[in-house]
Structure formats: C-alpha cells, structure tokens
Amino acid sequence: MKGVYAFFWKGMKEFFASKEAVFWTFIFPIIFGLLFAGVFGHESSPSSIPVGIVPERDSNNTLCEVFVNGMQEAIVDGKKLFELHNYSSESSAMSSLKNGKVKALLIFDDNFTENITSGIGQEKIKVILDKRDAQEYQLVSSVLASYISSFEDRVREIKMNITMEYLTQNGNLTQENITYVERWMKSFANPLKTQEEIYHGKSSAKTARMWYLTAAIGVTFVFSGMISAASMISSEIEKGTARRLLTTKTKPWEMLTGDILTVLLIQLISSLLIVLSFIVVFRELIIFPPSVILMLVIAALSTTSLGLLFSGITKTQRAAAGMANAIAWPISFITGIFFPSFLLPEWMRSIGDYFPASALLRGIRKVIIYNQGIGDYMPQIIGAIALTLIFLVIGSILFRWRMRTL
C-alpha cells in the first residue's frame, strides 16, 4: 500500500509543481462552463419580429389601417411583437426581405377594404416569408398566422355587428330571438375561446446554467481525465520508472492504482472548482446530493479507465495522448456532453447511451436539473458501472502485459 501512496503522492506533487499547468488545467473547463452558461443561461426576453408592409394605396381610415395598427400595438411581455417597415412597392419590400432586414412581408391588395367588407374575393393579403432559417420561419409564420386569425375574428365580429344592427332595425324579431341569434352568430365568429396560463417552473435560464455546469464537468472528465490517464502510465513506462519498479519492493498494481487515484482526484478537484465558480459568478447555491457525487466519481473513473485502456494499446505517451485527444472531441459532441443530444441524429444519440461518462452525466442532469429520482434510470447507471469495470479490467490486463514486455 505504501507503493500506492508513493505514486499518488508523487503524482499530486508533480501535478501541482507547475503552477502554470495547474492553472490551465483547471481554468479551461471553468471558462468553458461559464461562457456557455453566460450565453445561454440568461432569461430570454421576447424580441420583435421585423415585418415589411406594403399597404393599400389609399389606406386612411381603411381596414388595412386597422390591421396595421393592430400589429403595431400587439405587445407580448411588455415588448412589441412586430417591428413594422413600410414599403411603397412589392419589389422594394422584396429586396429588404432578401437582405434579411425583414423576416416577412404583408402585401395588401389595393381593393383590400372593399373586398373584405363585401366578401367578394379571397387572398386579399399576400404573405411572403423567408424560409432560409427553418426555425425562424417556423416562429414567424406561426406568429403571423395567429395574428391574422385573431384579426379575422375581429372582422367577423365587425360583420356580425353590422348584421345584428341590420336585423334589429329592419327585421321583425322579438327581443328574445335577437339574443338567441346574436349568441348563435357569435359562436360562428368566435367558436373557441382559449385561455392562456403560464407555467412558472425552474426558469429556463437556471436550467441552461445547470446544463452547462454539468457539461463543463463532463468536458473535464473527457479531456483532462482521459488524456492524462492515457499519458500517465505511458510516461512511467517511457521514462523508465515502471522498469525501475522491478528493483523495488513495489508491485506494478500499486503504481497503477496510485496513478489512477491521482487522475481521479484531479478530476474531482476540477469539478469542485467548476461548481464553486458557478456559485460565485451566478450567485446561486448549488448542492449536489450524494447520488450525484457518487455518479460523478464513477464518471471520472470511467474516463480514467478508458485512458488507461488507450495507454495499453499505444506504444508511446504521445500516441496515447493523441489518441485520447482525437477521441475526446467527437465523444464530447456526439454523446451529449456539451451538445444537447436532441439536436443529434438518432444513431448518434444511441452512442451516448453506452458511453459511461455521458450516461452518468444524463443521470446527474435528471437529478439536479429536472428534480427526478434516478430509480427508473438505474439500468443505465448499472450499465455504465459495468462498462467502466470492463475498461478497467482490460486496461489493467494490457498494462500487465506491457510491464512484462518492457
């Protein structure tokens, strides 16, 4: 056991010997986490949609004016829903759309008012949408559609009122019948009344911050954990310390264990610093329950043992570190470590289910972001632990084999 301690003690001393290296090792994930949390973790306020209008030629006191004024006044969460730009011709409006100044165009027919009140024709407003950005298109088109449909409601109501007025003045209906007819017509004009209520759960900003907090921890595990584990054993072998062991009372497994513990502890210190940096910067208390801490330790062990495995199948420290590095990038992307996995194609998502660190990270996110238990996630956690142990066993076998053929 003294040998384990020797390597652990030496590893920690060696790591902390270079202040500069320590700084950069720890600062990278912190910067990463804070940066993303800062960018995506603020309360999103709604923004106005720029819309180009080509009005009816003589638009004073017309329905077109009512329509446009309505748009002007539409407000959501204290912010104007539309930002309107007037154009005199369709072609000048089109060029604005093309260069992205407006996201949609509403072109009113010259006979708009007449048409809509007399009800002769259809397609009285031409709507042109920019579909170059699919997400934006989806948003703009649905907002416009809902505005238009609410305007239609208003038009129907106006028409109904005109009709009612006509009926009360010219028809020979009893007061009772008029009330019935009015209700009947109202249900034509506005068949459904929706009521909006807003769910105030954990704010989306906090969710995003916690998401990137865990992402930064995952990045630490994959990058610093996997890469340093990969190069550590190789460097002992290349340096000759591993061979030097043969003339001491220390056994190779003690070296392996000591080195693994070193890498593990450095990863956990790094995670702790990430959490502290989030607490300081975002001024919110973050407490991890024991289940999360346990999953963190296993996740760190999983990348460490994967690094060990890499050092077993490569010949030099550089090759081992290079391999770990080459794998770290795609791994962090496709397993949902720092890239929400719903954005990924199906087949990639399934890789994340099997990569232990990301499976565990998902478990951690369930607990600290979505306040769920991990009971029904147990199979995945057990799978991740099993895979970690498999990495560890294969890595140790390769290590023993390398020690024999030094």
């Binding site: 003294k2 040998g3 301690y5 020797a6 003690w9 030496k10 001393k13 060696e14 010997a17 270079s18 340096k239 000759g240 310390t241 061979r243 030097r244 062991l245 043969l246 003339t247 001491t248 009372k249 220390t250 030094l406």
Partner: protein, 286 residues
C-alpha cells in the same frame, strides 16, 4: 561464494543476437567495469540482471537464482528523475517504493550533499549523484550503474568516482558500464571488454594490457592521407603498437612520413583503448 554469477547469458532481440554466451562473476567489494562501444550490449546485460529481462542462461545471486530483485540497486542509463519535483521529493518517492520513510531520504541528502532544488535546476553531476543515491535506497549489496558519469565534466566525474570508490569500501559489489577507458582504468578491479554482445576479454587492467602484447604505443601526430599497414588511426594520429619501441621507432616514422606530414611523435604506455583497438580493430568511440 561470489556475490553474483552470470552464466552463459544469451539474448536475442527478434532475430538479432545482442548478447552471446556471456559469463562472469562478481565478488563483494569489487568493481567490474563493462567497457564497450555504443550498442555493444552493456545496457542489455545490466537490464537482464537488474530487471529480469527475458534471456537464456542463468543469473545467480549468492548462489541462488535471482528472483527478488529488490536486493539490487540499479541506476539506469536514462533519467529516472522527475524533473518537476525537488531532489528530496524524488528521493522520498523512491524511498516509499522501497517501503522506507522520508527520514532516510533526508539523511542521504545530507550525507551526499545534494541541494534540495527542483531536479531541473540541478547540474548534470548533481542529477547523477542523486540517481546513484536513489539506487542505494534499498541498501543493496549489489549495485548496477549504467554509465554513471556519461556527459559529466571532469570535476563532477571525479566526484562520482569518489562516491563509487567509497561504496566499494563499504563492501558493495558494483558493476558499471562505461565507454571511458580512464574510468575503467581508475575505478575497476577488473574490466570486461565487450563488443558486439561478446565479452572478448576480462581481467584486471594491468593484466589486460600485458596479455594484449602491447608494450608501448608509438603515436605519430600530424596530417595523414592514408593508414599504412600495421598502423591504426586515433583521432588525427597514426598509432603503431610495438614490443620494442627503440627498434620500431625509426621505421614507423619513415612509413608515416610517406603518407602525410608529421608534427609530433610520442612514445607512450598503452591504454585500455589501445588494448580494445588491438582486440577488435575498432575504436571505443567512433
């Protein structure tokens, strides 16, 4: 009973025979120098003894097959020091590996006057000294030092020699490798001349010189275009090994003058290098 016996050790790397039927023994309080050019197999031989590298033949320690290698103090050719750690931390680390504590390390630092700086700030001589002290951690009876003075300046080299001599006084058996003939001459009780995996001669320095049949070396310094028959080249000199320098001197000078310009002629005692050249036709350092 000898401290160490190496019996018919042969080693292949792939198809290449790196050691060929090597045998020798070492007593307590004896220094054996392995003298040979680059690639001769010195390190391989030492690794077989110290690390148990697979091989044919036997290595016996006090008459028994060597199994527990912690009885050996090994100072490998390559640096085994952690450059970012202090000298003391390095020594302490290796003490832990030998299941000792830090106190021993502290004592050794004082005894061998090693400054407690980061290794990368130590001089080459200090690093070597530290590496040798590390080999002493397990208080071994047998020390194996692979090129303990390579790359050192003369003064540091002499300090290391002093340490090695003292260790012999303490009764340790020491095998060291070197390509410096002076080192072998000044330190070793016996020298094994090793070339291309074979021990071609093994004896005390004087005996080696005697048995080589060289009485003196006529060294002719100058600029020469050619190496005449019977001569060898050493640096820019032509050397003629002679049994009777008085008889051969004029003859040798006459021949040398035909192939170049002579600046200086010296008649000197043969060195181990001369013995090596005589035996192998090669120089120790090419």
């Amino acid at each position: 009973m000898p401290l160490l016996e190496v019996k018919s050790v042969t080693k292949y790397y792939g198809k290449k025979k790196v050691l060929d039927n090597v045998s020798f023994s070492l007593e307590k309080g004896e220094i054996l120098a392995l003298l040979g050019p680059n690639g001769a197999g010195k390190t391989t031989l030492m690794r077989i003894i110290a690390e148990g590298l697979t091989h044919r033949g036997h290595v016996l320690f006090k008459g028994k097959i060597l199994k527990d290698r912690s009885v050996i103090g090994y100072c490998p050719q390559e640096g085994i020091l952690y450059e970012d750690l202090t000298a003391y931390a390095n020594l302490k680390f290796y003490s832990y590996l030998h299941k000792r504590d830090g106190r021993w390390a502290r004592k050794m630092m004082e005894k061998f006057e090693i400054p407690d700086k980061k290794v990368k700030e130590l001089s080459g001589g200090m690093k070597k000294r530290l590496s040798i002290v590390i080999a002493l951690v397990g208080e071994p009876e047998l020390l194996i030092l692979d090129e303990p003075t390579v790359g050192l300046d003369v003064e540091s080299r002499h300090q290391v020699w002093e340490i090695i001599r003292n260790l012999r006084e303490e009764g340790k058996g020491i095998i060291l490798s070197t390509h410096y003939m002076e080192e072998a001459e000044h330190l070793a009780n016996r020298v094994a001349i090793i070339n291309e995996g074979k021990i071609i001669s093994l004896d005390a320095v004087d005996a080696l010189k005697r048995s080589s049949g060289i009485k003196s070396a006529i060294e002719i310094r100058g600029l020469f275009k050619d190496i005449p028959q019977g001569f060898v080249r050493e640096n820019s000199s032509l050397v003629f090994y002679s049994q009777e320098p008085k008889r051969d001197l004029v003859n040798a000078v006459t021949i040398a003058s035909k192939v170049g310009k002579i600046k200086e002629v010296v008649v000197r005692e043969p060195t181990l290098e001369d013995v090596f050249i005589k035996l192998t036709g090669r120089r120790l350092k090419e």
